[in-house]
């Protein structure tokens, strides 16, 4: 009790110094929490974009399909599977596709691409394809052989709306198949590599051309929540044991890697911030101990044992941190709250970001778990930093200290 009293009152003995450390803690905590939230936002945005626009949560294929992406490896009774999956209450949207690796050509050039034969209505629910259209109109059910390609491909192939592009690919029997498709719309996403390599046609136009009428070789599943991923994947594996069922991390391991690298990078940042904070605390508390050499010597002379001296310094540091924490937390929460609504705009670097599949506007977000980790990190830093000055205090000789 007396230790707490002395430690808490000692904080205000050197107001300037205490305010400096309180500001350092506040700033460190604010920077740490905000950095974590920002990084989180960047990663979440990339993953959410990938899931909602490109991969979906889960994809089902023929077990041989992903080896060479051959059209002959379609899903037997794929449409029945699709119907069954669509009835699951955990599923937000699902759609069947015919996905083929092929080539697009115009009079000006050609490019290797993935031809996505999609079900227009289902695909709209699944990936909001029409939302990415910047020119032209979404598929018209009454028309055939329409194609939607990206702005980048359009420029590369010097094409325009209503012009024709030729798609060429191998059909089910390995023969070359090709067809002319009229450009009905141009799309643009935040992911440049994706735009460079994906075109969309109606499934009904491509399945017959590929020799697999009414068949599908890919089912994409979007869940109501990412938390349901493992459970849903297991359930689907039980239902369709002969089908390859992969989640987004398995389909695009580089995305899962992004999360793990992101976590590590974030902890390196946190480490640097905590190290700076720690040095600040050590420096300030060391000054406090050296300035109070005589007083600490007197306390030892009077009979305050080493543990109590140690605890007094640790408590003093802890109270200083405690004073800085609420300010830092408040600042961080306010900053995150505002930027979560407005976003942080890095439009001037949009080209660079989109080449890695990122949008140039980020929305910081923070989980309760991460918030807790941050607070624990600060508290640990405070305690660890308090050890050095406290040890210094313990090394003092009372008789020598009293002379100062």
């Amino acid at each position: 009790m007396i230790l707490t009293k002395i430690a808490s009152r000692n904080i205000w003995r050197s107001k300037k110094r205490s305010f400096t450390i309180i500001i350092a803690v506040s700033f460190g905590l604010w920077a740490g929490i905000f950095m974590m939230a920002f990084y989180n936002g960047v990663i979440e945005q990339r993953i959410n974009t990938a899931i909602s626009s490109e991969l979906s949560h889960i994809q089902l294929h023929h077990p041989e399909f992903r080896k060479d992406y051959e059209i002959k490896y379609h899903l037997p009774e794929g449409r029945k599977m699709l119907e069954k999956i669509g009835k699951d209450s955990q599923i937000k949207a699902t759609a069947g596709r015919v996905t083929i690796k092929g080539m697009i050509a115009s009079a000006s050039g050609s490019s290797g691409i993935t031809i996505n034969g999609v079900m227009p209505i289902e695909e709209q629910k699944l990936t909001n394809l029409s939302g990415k259209i910047i020119k032209g109109n979404y598929f018209n059910p009454k028309k055939t052989n329409e194609i939607i390609l990206s702005e980048r491909l359009r420029k590369k192939l010097r094409l325009n709306l209503n012009k024709k592009a030729i798609l060429t690919f191998q059909d089910e029997e390995g023969n070359l198949a090709s067809g002319a498709f009229r450009i009905t719309a141009i799309y643009k996403t935040v992911n440049t590599p994706y735009d460079d390599s994906n075109v969309f046609v109606k499934i009904t136009d491509i399945d017959s051309l590929g020799g697999i009428p009414n068949e599908i070789n890919e089912i994409a599943v979007l869940l109501k929540s990412s938390k349901l991923l493992d459970e849903s994947q297991k359930k689907l594996k039980r239902e369709f044991p002969k089908t390859e069922i992969q989640n987004w991390k398995e389909i695009a391991p580089e995305l899962g890697y992004t999360v793990s690298v992101g976590d590590k990078t974030m902890f390196i940042f946190m480490g640097i911030i905590m190290l700076a904070l720690g040095f600040g605390i050590v420096n300030t508390m060391m000054m406090a101990v050296l300035e109070r050499t005589r007083e600490i010597g007197m306390l030892m002379a009077l009979g305050m044992n080493k543990f109590k001296i140690f605890m007094m310094i640790v408590l003093e540091t802890f109270f200083l941190i405690l004073a800085g924490c609420p300010i830092g937390i408040m600042l961080a929460l306010v900053t995150i709250g505002i930027t979560k609504r407005t976003g942080i705009d890095f439009s001037q670097f949009s080209e660079a970001y989109s080449s890695f599949g990122y949008s140039s506007v980020f929305y910081p977000s923070l989980s309760v778990r991460q918030f807790g980790i941050m607070i624990i990190l600060v508290v640990i830093t405070a305690f660890v930093s308090a050890i050095f000055p406290a040890k210094k205090a313990l090394q003092l000789n009372p008789a020598e200290s009293l002379k100062k």
């Binding site: 007083e295 009077l302 009979g303 305050m304 009293l402």
Partner: protein, 240 residues
């Protein structure tokens, strides 16, 4: 026969032992009995503070040992020594050395709190001491709000509060004006008589020397004179 509280045997403190040895204390023998009011005088550098530090367990002798009530404190180390000081020795320092963030009352009760004495006993003792030192109205004042004399009275009360075996006071009047010094001496003499508390001072101050019942004179680390315990006015006896 009076009970011996402090028994210092052959105490020496030697600095730079390996090069040119300097004797801060040189083979000092000292016995102090309960209830004594003893002043240790001598010029600067004569070893007064060193002797007090040895007796108080704040410094380790190069030779010899100190017994307090039969306990050889020279053999005690670390927390055992700190605990011994806490429970047996009261200190009063030249520069008061109160804890600046605590009030007068909190400073007085500090040692008793460290000793984990019952709250009621501590409260009673603190109030009693505050009355004895005449600072009941300053109970909640911090040291910076008290005069030098008042601070030293609080320091004496702090040392007295847990009723230690004896009180060591290193030049307690050095920073006080004459009125405050006289008041402090009156108070300490009164406590010495009323509570039979043993006081050992180091001092230059003639006022303290005049009122001590025993005066020990140190020169170059050696006791050169030790007056027999007398009443207030002493008479020095040269040590051959």
């Amino acid at each position: 026969m009076q009970e011996t509280v402090i028994d210092a045997h052959n105490l020496s403190k030697i600095y730079d032992e390996k090069t040119i040895p300097v004797y801060a204390l040189n083979k000092v023998h000292l016995h102090i009995s309960r209830g004594e009011f003893t002043a240790i005088k001598g010029p600067s550098g004569s070893g007064k503070t060193t002797l007090l530090n040895m007796i108080g367990g704040l410094d380790i002798p190069s030779e010899g040992f100190v017994e307090i009530n039969g306990t050889n404190i020279t053999e005690l180390e670390g927390n055992a020594l700190i605990d011994f000081r806490l429970n047996n020795i009261g200190f009063v320092f030249q520069s008061y050395n109160l804890i600046p963030v605590l009030t007068a009352k909190e400073n007085i009760e500090f040692i008793m709190l460290l000793q984990k004495r019952p709250k009621k006993e501590t409260e009673q003792r603190v109030l009693e001491l505050l009355k004895q030192i005449g600072l009941e109205d300053k109970i909640n004042k911090r040291p910076r709000e008290l005069s030098g004399g008042q601070q030293q009275r609080v320091a004496v009360a702090r040392a007295l509060a847990p009723k230690p075996q004896f009180i060591l006071a290193d030049e307690p009047t050095a920073n006080l004006d004459s009125v405050s010094a006289e008041n402090l001496l009156d108070m300490m003499l009164k406590l010495n008589q009323e509570e039979n508390m043993t006081f050992v001072f180091s001092t230059h101050d003639q006022r303290v020397i005049n009122r001590a019942r025993r005066v020990i004179t140190l020169e170059d680390g050696k006791i050169v004179a030790d007056s027999a315990p007398t009443s207030v006015v002493h008479k020095e006896t040269a040590i051959k």
